[in-house]
Structure formats: C-alpha cells, structure tokens
C-alpha cells in the first residue's frame, strides 16, 4: 500500500431502487371505499421536485366532489363506524398499522419521489412513525372511558382534515388515527404537491377492508380545501399548515362555532448556553434546522447562542454545515434533499435575499447543487437583528438565523419575542437551568439536550399563533371527542 496516496473519503453513490413502487398514470378520488373519477374532470400533475419529472396525473376535487365525499363519510359514520364497538375499531386500526409496516419501504420510496425528502428520513423516521401512530391510537379505541375521567364522551361525526406537504403520510396518520380511534369518520385533503402516499394509503385501506366511507381522500389545492372547510355537514375541522391559512380557517370555523384544531407555523428558538456539551449541541442545532430541508414547523430556525461561546460555536457550526451532503434524495447518504416545490424555493430565496439586504451576514458552504430540480444550499445568517424578517418570519427552508444573548433572562426574552410558540430547544448540562428555561419558554414542545424528537405518545402542538389543540398522546384524543374538554372550539 502506498502510504503517500491520500485516502479517498468520497462517498460512492448509493441510490435506493425505485422498482418497489408502481405509480399509476393517474389517480382518482377515494370516496366511499372506491376510487372514483372527479365530477370536475379537472386534474393536476404531481412531480418529483428533485428532477422536475412528471410522476402522475391527479384528480382535482371540486365542491361537488367534496360534497360527495362528505356524504360518504356521513354514511360511513351512521352505518358502520359510530356504533361499532371500540374493540372492533381497534382491530381495523391495528390491521392498518401492520400493513403499513409490511409495505414500509414502498411508502418511503414513494414519499421521497413525490416530496424530495432524503430516503434516510422517509425510511427511518416518517414511515416508522406512521405505523406507530396507527398502532398507538388503535389501542385507545376501546379504552376511551379511561381517557376522560368522569365524562362520557362521543365522537364529533364527520371530520374534515387538511394536511401539508412536509410530512405527507405522517400528517395523514396524525390526523386519521386519532379521529378513527375516537369513532369519527374523515374526509382528508392531502397537499397538492404530495398526494401520492395518501393515495397509496387509500389502496392499503381498501386492502384492510375498512368499511366504506370511514376514510375519504380528496385531492386538490386551495379551492378543494376551501370547499371542505365551508362544507355545512362537517362536524369538526383539523388543519396543519401555515398560520396565514390557519387564520382564514379559524374565521370560517368561528362563524359556525365549529370545533377546530390548528397546528400552524413556528419560529423556534434553539438556545445554547456556554455550559452545554458543545459538539452535541452543534449536532442538535444542525438536526434542528436541516432535518427535512428545514420544511418543519417546529424547526429550530433561530439559534440563540450565549455570547461567551458564540465565536467558537459558530465556527464549529460552519465546519459541520460544510459537511452536509445535499443532493439526490434517493441516495442513502443524502442529508439534505430537494426543496418541495418551485413556489417554496422562491419563498426561501426571497427571504434569504431580504436577510442580505437588511444587513445580516450570510454563510453558505461551497456546495454543488444538481442542475435540475429545486435546491437550496444550507444557509447560516450571523449578525441578525430582531427586526430582520429572517428573525421574525417562518422561512420553512434550510436557513438558520443566529443571534446571541448574555443572560438566561435575555435568552427567554428573545426566545419568546415572536407571535409563534410551537417549540424550543435548550442546551446546557445544568439540570436546574433546563427546568427554569422550560418553565418560561412559551412553546408547546421543549427539547432539552435533544431536538426534533417525536412519538405517538407525546403530545405535539403550539402556544399563541402556532395554533391550538394537541396531536399525539392522551391529550391528542380530546380534540376528536365532544364534551371532553368543555366547550373549546
């Protein structure tokens, strides 16, 4: 062996095969247990954001189609689901959970193709979580009397659910599993850029012999969502997405006093103290903002680092960010995949330009991006002022805004200085400081010495303008039952 020869530390390409998925040329709506053509006759194309290649043609549901779906859901509720013993409902949900586990790789590849996220994440995070959510909620279906002490609860009826494109199948699971466990039937609208895994789930639901109408899936964009929100025969709405759209939905629901759950945007502060385990904190901060290309409502998009360690910490962070592998989402070694859509890429670019224009210092590692598809280089901003748009607005991309603080009180002040309140991170080796901070941070989820952890038994959801209601855990059941928690709508 010639010791003068440098080792080649380049990764060889390791692409996941796409043979496992079989994407149909076109997909219809899933209503009443069957795939049915949209009355509208309208369609839209779903593409692979990493290549801009057309994947399939999807039916666009009109108001008439949504109406048909709500009717089917009502029938499913009255004829099957409402009066089915909890033990039976549980069996269906367990069956769905198992079939998801069995076809997990197929779903993961499809998720990555349609949404652009790294296969490493869809395979090791999204899909295991999807199955776990069905499994966890299945067990509640026949135990609801123990969930709400001294209160007899009943389902709402037909639930309208609208989900985003960042965790397409996982968001479907977060919505469908607790709704079904508590005895509701659903009409779900997936996001227009990522409909494919929800439609594959519809096929799986057919295989699981779920009674017709219990789950209905209507594909489309904003107009389809609007038709669902405004449908007079919906008993409850659940929405995950942007705060702007959430507010529009809240208006529509307020007028009708319709029970509502909102899981909206965030601008989470990730607070690193001088007594943190520094290298672990660097990893945590990187995971916090670059997980799923930063398309995460709870992304740690504002780093607050204590002034005494800021210089060293930022230098380490830059070294680490330069090692991120950006590229083919199907490659098993990819850390950061494709931006989900051209529209989202434009929004990220626009906000990053505002950061530069407003005077923050930009850092982007030297990083070769593929020629086709939607891509954005992982980006750090230092010298960020509270007034900068990049410190206040949700970017929903791989962009981290860095600010400093001197005291814990100042960290709390800065962390809470936002209309959002979804999540927060704390890094310190001092236990009492963690609890002191956790108590004061206005956020629904606080990660201490870790970040971006999720579990079906752990409630998730926001304070303030990040929405209301929880998903996951015991607390995630109450939005789906009437009279569980008084009269909050």
């Amino acid at each position: 062996m010639n010791t003068n020869e440098p080792f080649n530390l380049e990764y060889a390409p390791a692409p996941e095969s796409t043979k496992i998925v079989n994407i149909a040329k076109s997909y219809d709506l899933f209503i009443g247990g069957k795939f049915v053509k949209a009355k509208s006759g309208k369609t839209f194309s779903t593409i692979n954001p990493a290549t801009e290649e057309h994947l399939s043609t999807i039916a666009e549901a009109s108001t008439d189609d949504v109406n048909k779906a709500v009717k089917a859901a009502r029938k499913g509720y009255k004829n099957y689901w409402r009066d089915m013993p909890g033990k039976q409902r549980a069996r269906y949900l367990y069956r769905i959970a198992r079939q998801i586990q069995e076809r997990s790789r197929e779903f993961a590849v499809l998720e990555t193709l349609d949404g652009g996220k790294p296969i490493k994440e869809s395979r090791d995070f999204d899909l295991p979580q999807v199955a776990a959510h069905f499994f966890y909620n299945a067990g509640w279906a026949d135990k609801l009397d123990y969930a709400f002490p001294n209160r007899k609860v009943s389902p709402h009826g037909v639930v309208g659910q609208i989900i985003p494109w960042n965790f397409p199948l996982l968001m479907a699971a977060w919505k469908i599993a607790p709704a079904l466990a508590t005895g509701n039937t659903v009409v779900l609208k997936p996001a227009e850029t990522t409909p494919l895994t929800a439609l594959l789930l519809a096929e799986l639901i057919q295989d699981a012999d779920l009674p017709p109408g219990v789950v209905n899936i209507v594909t489309g964009a904003g107009e389809t969502g609007e038709a669902l929100v405004n449908h007079p025969d919906i008993n409850k709405l659940a929405f995950t997405g942007s705060t702007d759209v959430g507010k529009m939905i809240q208006k529509a629901a307020a007028a009708r006093r319709l029970p509502l759950t909102l899981e909206l945007g965030g601008k989470a502060a990730h607070v690193v103290f001088e007594d943190a385990a520094i290298d672990q904190a660097v990893e945590g901060v990187v995971n916090g903002i670059f997980f799923n290309q930063g398309h995460v409502c709870c992304a740690g998009s504002r780093l607050l680092v204590q002034e005494s360690i800021a210089e060293d910490f930022i230098a380490r962070l830059k070294r680490r960010v330069a090692l991120l592998r950006v590229g083919d989402p199907l490659d098993k070694n990819t850390d950061v995949g494709a931006i989900n859509s051209g529209a989202q890429l434009t929004r990220i670019q626009e906000l990053v330009e505002s950061g530069v224009a407003e005077g923050a210092d930009i850092f982007q590692p030297d990083c070769k991006l593929p020629a086709k598809g939607f891509w954005f280089t992982p980006t750090l901003f230092t010298g960020v002022q509270q007034s900068h748009r990049i410190a206040r607005e949700e970017i929903f991309g791989p962009v981290l805004s860095i600010q400093t603080f001197r005291t814990a009180e100042e960290a709390v002040e800065k962390a809470n200085n936002t209309p959002y309140g979804l999540s927060a991170g704390i890094w310190t080796e001092k236990g009492s400081k963690i609890l002191w901070m956790a108590d004061r941070l206005q956020a629904g989820v606080v990660w201490a010495n870790t970040y971006n952890q999720f579990d079906p038994s752990s409630p998730f959801g926001g304070y303030k303008e990040s929405g209301f209601g929880r998903e996951g855990g015991l607390q995630g059941l109450s939005p789906y039952v009437r009279n569980a928690v008084g009269g909050r709508s």
Partner: protein
C-alpha cells in the same frame, strides 16, 4: 327607621386592584323592580378595556408563578370573604328581582364554587398532566400551563353564579382575566369585585368591566394581547364578523355552560407543554 339618609354605594369598575370610574365618564342607571334608582353604574369604554388588558398582562406571570398551594389558598380566601358578606350578596340579588330562596341558593353555590376550585389548584396537574412512554431513551412529560390573559363574557343568568362559575376555573391555574358584564348583572359583579379586592388576590388578576357587552365584545375579540376568550355569556345572535375577529391572533374561543362545575373548564383555559430530555450516563 334610619335617623340618617342611607349612604348609597358608588359602583365602579375594577381594574388592576383599584376601583376607577370609566375614563369615558359614562354611566348607566340600574333600578330595582319598583323603578327606584339603585346605582349609576360605570359604563366601560374601549380605553377601559385596553387598560384592563394591560393590567391583566402585567399580573399574569407573577400570578402563574405563585405556588399552586398559594393560589388555592387565595381562592379559598375569596370564599371566606364571600361568606362574610353573604347577606349583602343576597340583598343585591333580591334587589334586582331574585326571590329570597333563589338569591340564597345562588350565593351558597357561588361560595361553594370558590371552595371547590380552590382545591383543584394543586390537583389539576395530576388529572391532565402525563408522563409519556416514548419509544426511546428520553424522559418525556406533559404539563398544563395557563393560557395567559383570558377575556370573559359573563352570563347574567344567573348573575352571580354565572360569573363565579367561569371566573374560578379560569384564574385557578394562573390565568388572569378581563371580564365584561352587562349592567343588569353589574351590582352582583361589582360586589364580587369588592370581595376580590380584599382576598389577597393580586391586583390585575381579575379586572371587571360593567357596560354594554355587545359594544365591548368586538374590541375584546380583536385585541392582540388576549390569548383566549370565554364566550359563554355572549349573545346568541352575535354577528359572524365579530366572531371572526378571534382569528387575528389565533385566540382560543370557548363556549361553555354558565353554571357547570367540572375540571374540564379549567382545561379549556390551559396549554399543554411537553418536555423531552435524554436519559443516559
């Protein structure tokens, strides 16, 4: 027969622990069933509402950071103070048309509400909080926290119990409140404020505005520093556009029952916070 002319009480607003008149200078008369003037009640303005929200916001953090034991004791103290003034409450309710029996029943129930919710101060966490068995080496728990500043539209029917049944579960967890009541319920509400002012309840935890609910409601729903609104006493025919205002800062809106007694009302005005920490050596 009184030798002297009785000294009539001036009924004012209750803001930040003090009893100011409305800055607007407006009052509304309230008369007994025979038409005799009982009081000229202050009619709260938009400015009074804003001042109340500021007081409630300033008081919220320190109220919430008191121990649950301490908040429980203060709620119990409110019950004690009400008990001491029960005859006055009964007289107030009778003067506005309740029978003696109804008045006594309402006052007793209202006192009972404070005692019942006082006990919840250090128990609600047991019932609503959880330790979550996540599939990984993490300690994970969920605990309830107060929502923040709550706008309360109190029900006049029944005047005293409708107010207390909503207020007690809202403040017991550490929320502060801005309450609007219509003039008809004003005497009972202001008398309650006098109890609150002498019960060791910190100023600003409860702010009470008498006036025209219909007029104050849009300002309450549109206020950016109110986190949640209790619409239990809101008129049924309330305009859609007014309700839509609640979306301006994603307010939690609650429609409840005016006299229910359940810990789930406390839950309506809570946020759930989940904390994760790794387990390791």
């Amino acid at each position: 027969m009184n030798k002297n002319l009785p000294v009539a009480k001036t009924y004012k607003l209750f803001i930040n622990g003090a009893f100011p008149r409305s800055e607007s200078g407006y009052t509304l008369p309230i008369r007994n069933t025979e038409g005799q003037l009982l009081a000229n009640i202050s009619k709260a303005s938009r400015k009074d509402l804003r001042d109340s929200v500021r007081a409630a916001r300033s008081a919220q953090e320190s109220w919430a950071s008191r121990t649950a034991y301490n908040r429980g004791q203060i709620l119990y103290r409110i019950a004690e103070m009400m008990e001491a003034r029960r005859e006055e409450f009964i007289a107030v309710l009778e003067s506005t048309g309740e029978t003696h029996k109804e008045a006594v029943g309402q006052v007793e129930d209202a006192i009972e509400r404070w005692v019942w919710y006082a006990g919840w101060a250090d128990k609600i966490h047991h019932v609503l909080g959880t330790v979550n068995p996540v599939a990984g080496p993490y300690f994970n728990f969920t605990m309830p926290e107060p929502t923040g500043v709550v706008g309360v539209v109190a029900s006049e029917e029944p005047a005293l119990l409708g107010l207390v049944s909503r207020l007690a579960p809202i403040i017991v967890s550490g929320n502060t409140a801005v309450v609007v009541v219509d003039v008809e319920a004003g005497l009972a509400a202001v008398t309650l404020a006098e109890v609150l002012a002498t019960s060791d309840l910190p100023g600003g935890v409860v702010n009470l505005l008498t006036g025209d609910k219909q007029e104050l409601l849009p300002w309450m729903l549109g206020h950016l520093d109110i986190n949640s609104v209790d619409l239990t006493g809101a008129p049924n025919d309330i305009d859609h556009e007014i309700l839509e205002e609640s979306a301006v800062n994603v307010k939690r809106t609650v429609w409840g029952d005016p006299t229910d007694e359940t810990p789930y009302i406390i839950a309506d005005f809570l946020e759930m916070k989940t904390v994760w920490h790794p387990i390791g050596r």
